[in-house]
Structures are given as structure tokens and as C-alpha cells.
């Protein structure tokens, strides 16, 4: 019952804040309280193994809370609160919050759904309302991207539905259950069909085409939840399908898993490259988000105990640092009204807190200790080498190098470099954003230094399905290959930092130089001189990559669209609007029937 109450509560809060639309303050308070209540209700009342089935006469909706749904549910709900608090600074109407709440409802319901039909129902709900959220985005292009997003996610949903019907047809059960005992290749078909929507949600190539635009054009604060939270549904789906629906995949289709891992690695690498080619902060982050989710796919593809642990941990990490980055960029946009890296720069002096947030965000994105990004990367590499797929390992490593490139481009474009004239007197991002930044910084560092805190629950999720190999306690992690003591790593870094700081302090003093006091071949420059090097940042890499950079999945998609429009033209050809031709149709119709039935007449 608790789950049903939770969903009901969310829907009601959404409706109330819709009704209170014009009364801003009251609406915001209600919305905020609703989210917080939901969060704590979730934490307190919903326990793993909770079962509830809602009979709407026509159909029985089955709910079940598992460890995985708990894990992802907490992430999603927490991120929702952060998004909500920040979003109060924007100009939003009541409908915006209604849609937001219904999106969250759909997402949580998907986590709880126990049978495929209601899973589909809630998945479609989530897609529909998040589509409306994107539709209410900030720019005029948001319509186009929202449309793209809708079509893609509905495509995924329908693929899922097809898979559902196939499963029901062959196993005579609509519940989420094993299909691996089925004979023949149909189970592979079902597997792929069931995976499709999650590949779309987690933006696995080639299903990622909607993501950059949708992330870019949705409202900045919503992107925090959109990229950090909703993509987790995709990860949850991977887990669901690979472990609950197709239990014996490692035995039956190891090559499918291999392909899946490779797909993930390619996603990580390619979108990493696309990321550092972008000049728009949000688009860059969108690609980086896709790239990070690629690692998750790799983790699932390897399908060993600690690779999956790594994948889930990385999903959590992605939720933390990607949301942090998007939140900071949202705050910057709120102040400077631009996300174009070429138009910003030098904001570190104006928005120090945001800078710190972004700094740690990118450190985690690049997987550098002691942040949350490191343990998952470490585990993933161990798993890869143990699996022995060295080329895949190298590809993943390549992807993680691209992370350095786009991370630095981001931080430099926004915060470093020369401060622009028009940004001379921007202020620090407002309270809502600052709150989110600080809150997200805590797990980012704590879980980076003491990952054991969440490794334990994640291990509970995984060890039920896979033979536990990973040895861990609060501080250490042991794999057959190696061992890391994360607190020590953090400690050493702190220690050496103290040392170098000491050297720095005892050495001679320094003075603060103006930005115009700069080595420009001893040329005197004035304030508005353009020193900021941000456009074409990695321009020379275009030359390095050459033609392959211009290849894209868009072209394949466009070919499909062309095919369909051709068919459409053909179909329209029948209705050319001439009555005589229509008469001819009727006669031809009868001629045909007479011919076909000729034998019988």
C-alpha cells in the first residue's frame, strides 16, 4: 500500500501546485514540502520485498519494491528535490510543476512495477510528461528537440511493448520473469526489444540522438533531474532485463553481452570526442553525460560481480557529479544568460562557490581521486583486465582521457581566462543553486574517500544474482587483481598538498596582477582586448581526426526518414483527387475480387 500512497501523494501535490499556479510563494512551498515528504516517506515506509497490487477491474497493476528499486528510487527522489529548490528561481507556471511531479511519479512507478504491461504504462507516462517538460523548455528550438525526444522514447516504449507481447505469447505470463528457458532465437529478440527503451533512456549509441538537444533545450534546472535522474531509469532497466528477465544470458548469449559492452565503450569514447568538440556548455555536458553512461553499459556487459557493482556505483556517481555540473551551469546561465563557452570566462572571481562545485564536478567526471568518480573507474578497470578483453579496456581508457579534455574545456571556458566586460558585475548564483551545489559536494567527496558506505547496499543488490568476488570493507577494496585503500589515497593527497602549500608559503611573496598585466609580447592591452581563448579550443584535433569526425548516426536516421516519406508519397499517390480515377478504383476492386474468387463463382 505504501508505494501506492507515495505515488498518490506525488500526483496530488502536482495537481495542487497546478491549481495554485498563480500564487507563486504558496505553490512553491507546497511543491517543496511535497517533495521532501515524499523523500522521507520513501526512506521510512518503503522496504524491499514490499508487494502491492492495485486492481482497476480492467487490469491488475502489480507493484514490488526490490533492493534495486530502492537504490534508484532514493537517487531519483533526492535529485528531484534539488531540481525543485533550484527551479524556484526560474519563471515557471503551475503546469510545469504538475508535469514535473507526474514525471517523477512515472519514474518511481516504473521502479516499482512488477508486471510488464503496467511497466509499459508508467514508462509511457514518464516519457509523455518529461516530453512536456522539455516542451516547456527555454529556447525556441526546444520544440524540435522535445519532438525528437518524444518520438525516440515512444519508439523505445513500443519496442518494449512488442517484447512484452512476445514474452506473454510464449511464456503465458505478464509478470517480469525469466525467459531464458525459451527455445530458439525468439528469446534474443525479446531481450533486444525489452532493452531498447532503456538504451534510449540511458542514451546508448545509436539511440542517443535525442539526448544532446533535449538536454540542451530543456530548462536548465530540469536538466539536472533529467540527466542525473531519469537516465537512471535506463540503468535500472539494464539491471532488470539482464538479471531478472534473462537470467542465464551469460550462458546462453555471451556474445550479446560482449557486443553490449563494446557498444557501451564506443558510446563512451565517441561521445567523449563529440563532447570536447562542443562550444555550448550544456551540449558539452550532455555528451559527457552520455559518455559516462557508456561506462555503465560496459560494466553490465562484462557481467561479473564487481563489474556490475562498478556499474551501479558509477550510475550513482553519474547522478551526483553530472547533476552538480548541470546545476552549476544552470546557475551561471541564471546570472549571465548564456551557455556559450566563447561568451563567458573569468567568472571564478565573481562566482567562487560555483567554481568550486564545477571544479570538483569535473575532477569526479575525470575519475581522479579522491572523488566519487574514482572507485567505480578503478573497479571497472580491474573487472576489464580480469575479463581479459584488453582492447575493450584500452577503448574505455581512451574514453576516460577524453573526459580530461572536455572537463578542462568546460571549466576554462566558464570560469578561467579573461573576464568579459559585460560580466564585470555578475553575482554568485542564488541560494537555490548554491544549496544544491553544497549538498551534492558532500557525497561527491565522502563517497570518494569512503566508498564502502554505498558499496555495501550495492553489493546486496548484486550478490543475489552473481557470485560475490569483490572483497571490501569501509575503507578497502580487494579484487583478485589489486587492492586500494581509498582513505589512504585521500590522506596522502591531503598530506602532500599541505607540504607543497608549505613550500609555497615559505617562498618569497607575490603580488596580485591585473588581467591586462599579461605577457602579450610586451604590447599594452586595454580592458576589452580579447584574450580569452575558447572558440575552436581543440580545433586542431579536427585535423587530427580527419573525415571520420564528420560521420554521424544522424545520416542513417535521415535515410530511414527518407524511406518513410517515400512510402508516404506513394501512399498519397492513390488519392490524386480525380473522381474518375476513384471510380476506376471501385471497378478495379471488383475485377480483382472476381478474379480472385473466380474459382468459386
Amino acid at each position: 500500500m505504501a508505494m501506492f500512497y507515495l505515488l498518490l501523494l506525488l500526483v496530488l501535490v502536482g495537481i495542487v501546485s497546478f491549481v495554485l499556479g498563480p500564487i507563486k510563494v504558496l505553490r512553491n512551498i507546497i511543491a517543496f514540502l511535497g517533495a521532501v515528504t515524499a523523500f522521507f516517506y520513501f526512506l521510512t515506509n518503503i522496504k524491499p520485498g514490499l508487494i502491492y497490487s492495485l486492481n482497476i477491474r480492467v487490469y491488475n497493476v502489480h507493484f514490488e519494491a526490490g533492493f534495486s528499486s530502492m537504490f534508484f528510487g532514493v537517487i531519483i527522489t533526492a535529485l528531484f528535490i534539488i531540481f525543485l529548490i533550484a527551479s524556484f528561481h526560474e519563471e515557471n507556471d503551475g503546469a510545469y510543476y504538475l508535469f514535473a511531479y507526474l514525471t517523477l511519479t512515472g519514474a518511481l512507478a516504473v521502479l516499482f512495477a512488477k508486471d510488464l504491461i503496467s511497466f509499459f504504462f508508467f514508462f509511457e507516462t514518464m516519457s509523455l510528461f518529461s516530453f512536456l517538460m522539455v516542451l516547456k523548455g527555454k529556447s525556441d528550438t526546444s520544440f524540435r528537440s522535445a519532438f525528437k525526444y518524444l518520438v525516440w522514447s515512444v519508439f523505445g516504449g513500443y519496442a518494449f511493448l512488442m517484447g512484452t507481447f512476445l514474452k506473454v505469447y510464449y511464456t503465458h505470463s505478464v509478470m517480469i520473469g525469466d525467459i531464458s528457458y525459451l527455445a530458439g532465437g525468439v528469446k534474443l529478440l525479446i531481450l533486444i526489444l525489452l532493452l531498447a527503451p532503456f538504451a534510449v533512456k540511458a542514451a546508448l549509441m545509436p539511440f542517443h540522438l535525442w539526448a544532446p538537444d533535449a538536454y540542451k533545450d530543456s530548462k536548465d534546472t530540469f536538466t539536472v533531474f533529467f540527466s542525473g535522474g531519469l537516465s537512471k531509469i535506463g540503468v535500472f532497466g539494464y539491471f532488470l532485463v539482464l538479471f531478472k528477465v534473462f537470467t542465464e544470458i551469460a550462458v546462453k548469449y555471451p556474445y550479446f553481452l560482449k557486443a553490449f559492452a563494446w557498444l557501451g565503450a564506443i558510446t563512451a569514447a565517441l561521445s567523449g570526442i563529440y563532447a570536447f568538440m562542443q562550444d555550448d556548455a550544456k551540449k558539452l555536458l550532455a555528451y559527457s553525460s552520455i559518455s559516462q553512461l557508456g561506462y555503465v553499459a560496459v560494466g553490465f556487459g562484462i557481467y561479473t560481480h564487481f563489474s556490475v557493482v562498478a556499474a551501479l556505483f558509477h550510475a550513482l556517481g553519474h547522478a551526483v557529479f553530472e547533476s552538480l555540473l548541470f546545476l552549476v551551469v544552470a546557475g551561471v546561465y541564471y546570472r549571465t544568460k548564456t551557455t556559450d563557452l566563447r561568451k563567458m570566462g573569468g567568472l571564478i572571481k565573481r562566482m567562487p562557490l560555483s567554481f568550486i562545485g564545477l571544479l570538483f564536478g569535473i575532477i569526479a567526471t575525470s575519475g581522479i581521486p579522491p572523488t566519487i568518480g574514482f572507485p567505480s573507474k578503478w573497479l571497472l578497470y580491474e573487472a576489464l583486465i580480469l575479463k581479459g578483453d584488453l582492447l575493450l579496456t584500452s577503448l574505455v581508457f581512451f574514453a576516460s582521457i577524453t573526459a580530461f579534455l572536455y572537463s578542462y574545456k568546460l571549466v576554462h571556458g566558464i570560469f578561467l581566462g579573461k573576464l568579459h566586460e559585460e560580466h564585470k558585475n555578475v553575482k554568485e548564483a542564488p541560494l537555490g543553486y548554491a544549496f544544491g551545489t553544497v549538498v551534492l559536494l558532500v557525497p561527491l567527496l565522502v563517497l570518494g574517500i569512503i566508498p564502502g558506505l554505498v558499496i555495501k547496499p550495492i553489493d546486496y543488490i548484486v550478490r543475489f544474482y552473481l557470485k560475490p568476488e569483490l572483497g571490501y570493507n569501509l575503507a578497502n577494496m580487494n579484487t583478485p587483481l589489486g587492492h586500494v585503500n581509498f582513505p589512504v589515497v585521500g590522506l596522502v593527497m591531503g598530506l602532500t598538498f599541505a607540504l607543497s602549500l608549505f613550500i609555497y608559503l615559505i617562498a618569497g611573496k607575490s603580488y596580485r596582477a591585473e588581467q591586462t598585466d599579461n605577457y602579450t609580447a610586451t604590447e599594452a592591452i586595454d580592458e576589452d582586448f580579447e584574450l580569452h581563448y575558447a572558440g575552436e579550443f581543440y580545433g586542431f584535433m579536427k585535423k587530427a581526426f580527419g573525415r571520420p569526425l564528420t560521420w554521424s548516426f544522424e545520416k542513417i536516421l535521415n535515410a530511414f526518414l527518407k524511406l518513410f516519406s517515400f512510402l508516404g508519397e506513394v501512399a498519397r499517390g492513390f488519392y490524386m483527387g480525380d473522381a474518375r480515377v476513384y471510380l476506376f478504383y471501385v471497378i478495379a476492386f471488383f475485377a480483382l475480387l472476381a478474379y480472385l474468387m473466380g474459382g468459386k463463382l
Partner: protein
Amino acid sequence: MVSPILVIALSLFFAFVIPLLGMVSKKLPRLVPPLAMLVNLWILITNIKFVSRGAMLVTTAGLKPPIAINLAIDRFSLLFVILIQLIGLLLSVYYLSQDNRDQRFYMLFLLNILGASGIVMTGDIFNSFVFLEILEISSFGLVASKKDRKALEGGFKYMVIGAIGSSLYLLGIIVLYLTTGSLNMAEIAKLMPHIPESIKLFAALLLLAGIGVEVELFPLNAWAPDAYHGAKDEISTQLSSIISKAGIYLAARIFFTIFNGFYALKIIFYLGVITFVIAELAALMQKNVKRMLAYSSIGQMGLLMLILSLVAKRGDVFVITTVILLALNHAFGKGLLFLSLGALSGGNGEYEIENLGGNGRANPLAGFLFTVGALSIVGMPFFFGFWSKISALISLMKTNVIYLIALVLVISLVEIYYYGNVIVNLFRGEGKKYGISIVPAAVMILFALFVIVFGIWPHPVFQIAQSAAVSLIERTTYISSIIGGM
């Protein structure tokens, strides 16, 4: 009890009263149709409890069938006739708001509803032909009533093809009469086993021609786009929500009750698939929203017919229930779409997408209603369309045509594509603002309410549809209840 025959009689009476009232005052005629519908609905609703499992027999001229003409009303037909009258009522209320129509229009409208209800209620196959004629001729008039080039063109095409169709339909009836010597559906159905295959087939095809025009089956539906496009928005609503529903009923009645799931249904199956695919693909390429809606409703009818034809494979209650659900969703959703499109385009014939750009933002209510209708038609959750589409897929699965599920889903994606495109364009940029008066708004909201309320709580509709379906499936009961034991 009040005899349902009055439904027909009263409608006729009201239709002839209209011109007289027209002499008295210009305002009066438009009050008549709502009144008539109300009375009819009251009559029908009083009759609901008398319609038990079999068919309720209403004889005329005091003679028993098979000799006499009679109405045979079972739950199935009752459902349809109530649906028709209800939408008729809503539309006639809609007409209240707009004057500058001459009284003949209201006559035609009444006759149209009369024809539809007649088709649904009659138990006599020749009568069904008569009512079909009434229906079609009045529809030609209605379509052409806009009196501009497009409307006349559409009306003309409809008339040409409709005339051919109905004459073939008559031919089919004659064939059946020659072989069975009876015009009573039940009687014919009873004698069906004794008719030689070839004759059966011949008759079935001829009848199919007549019905195919109404239900917009592929080669016979060429009139539809022009007619829908040319006609006024509310007339398009009428075409899609009333006339095609009568066609559906007739198809079910004739091919299931009379021909007993005869394999001519296989032809309908293929035609349905072809219609579905071609129409939806044609809609994909449409830049003109109203034509797009026309194609989409053809496609929906195709889906309906192919689901209906599945009865041949397996006389299943669920399949018929699905047919009814789809019909309801189409009636309300598509009607809503046409009406709100009218509101969005401000009555003037600007249906091009770029002309409509931003109108949804300019007139929020109409935009919202259009969105609701579209989402229901494409079968999004929380709308009635979801349930009808899911049950369509389920009935496809039950009848072991899995590959069709894939087809239907792909085509649904196409639907999402073009409807989504329209919706997105409606809310993009700044558009022209048109006022919308209270009455049409109320009517549209009623349409929308049906879609949303039963989308969230579909159970009652399911129950009704099921009971109706049961009474169609049990054809022996139907026959015996009309002409006693067999």
C-alpha cells in the same frame, strides 16, 4: 414501455416540422434537433432494461417476422444507437451557437441521424438499405452544405462512389432474397447454411461494397479525404463519429450475424491491413492538418475492420469488445480533434500546419483539447485510447497474428510522429487568436471528459462494451429471439 420505433417516427416528424417552424421564425429550427435527440435518448434509455440477452423485437403492422418489417434491437445495436444519438445531441447543441444556417441544414442533419439510427436498429436487411440511402444522401447534402468549391467537390465524389456502393449493396440484398426468399436478417441467417457457397460469396462481396464505402475500406475510401477536407469541421466530426460507426455496426451485423463469420471476412482482414497502412502513411506526408485527420481516421477504421475480421478466426467476446472500444475512442477522440481543429483555425479554411503555428498558444483551451484528442488517438496512457490500443494488441495476440502487433506498433509510431509534429507546431511561436464561444467549448470539453475520465477509470466502458459484445456473439439467441426456435 415506449416503443423504440418512435425514435425513427419522431425523428421523421421533427424533420418535417422544421420547415414549418422556419416559416414562423428563423431562430426556431435550430432548437429542433437537440429536442429530438433528447426525446430519442430518453426513449432508448427507458428501453435499456427491456433489452435482455437476445434481441428485442419491435414489429410493425401487427405482423410477425419473417413476413413483416421489424426492428430488432439487442445490446449491441442499442449501444451503437445510443452512441449515435449522444454524439448527435452534442453536435446539435454545438449548432445552437451558430446561426446563418438555413433550415434545410437541420433537416438534413436530423435525417442523417435518423438514417444512422435506423441502420443500427432495423432487423430487416432491405430496410437497412433504405436507411443507408437516407444516411448517404443526407450526408452528401451535409458535406456540400458549405457551398464552396472544395465542399461541392467532396460531396460530389462522395455521392458518386456512395451511389455505386449502395446500388451494389442493393444487388447483394436481391441476391440474398432470390436465394432465401426472405429479407429478414434473422431468417436469412437461419437459412444461411443452405445457401450454396458461390452465391454466399457473391452476395457477401456485393454487400461488402456497400459497407466498404461507409467504413472507408481501401479502394472504396477515395472519397473520404476530399469529403472530410471540404466539409465543415462539425460535419467532418459527423462523418467520422456517426456515419462510419453505423457502417461498423452494419459490417458486424451482416458479416457476423448473417454470414456467421464467413470467410469473406478474410478479404476484410486484408483490406483492413492495407487501408490501415496506406492511410497512415499518407497522413504522415500531409501538410494540411485536416486532410491528415481524414487519413488518420481512415486508418483507424482500417484497424477497426481488421480487428473485426479477426472474429472469423475465432468468435471471441474480447475481440468484439475491442472493436467497440476502438469505435468509442475513435468517435470521441476524432470528433474532438475535428471540432478543436475548427476552433484553432477560426472557422476559415486555413488548415496548413504553418498557418496553424502558435495558434495553440494563442487559444490555450482549443490547443489543450486538440492535444488531448491527439494523445488519445495515438493511445497515450491516461487517455481512453491507451486501453483501446492495448486491447487491440491483446486481441491480435489472442488470435495468433503476432506479426501484426509489430505492424500496428510501427504504424502507431508513424501516428505519434505526425500528431506530435502538429502539437509541437501548435505551441511554437506566436499565433493568431480566435475567440471561442461558450457552447462549442462546452461540447468539446464533454468530448474531452469522456476520453480522460474513462482513460483513468475504463472499467464501466469495458463492462458495457462486453455485454454488447456478448449479445453479438450469441447469434443463435438473436435469431431465436426474433423468429423463435431454430
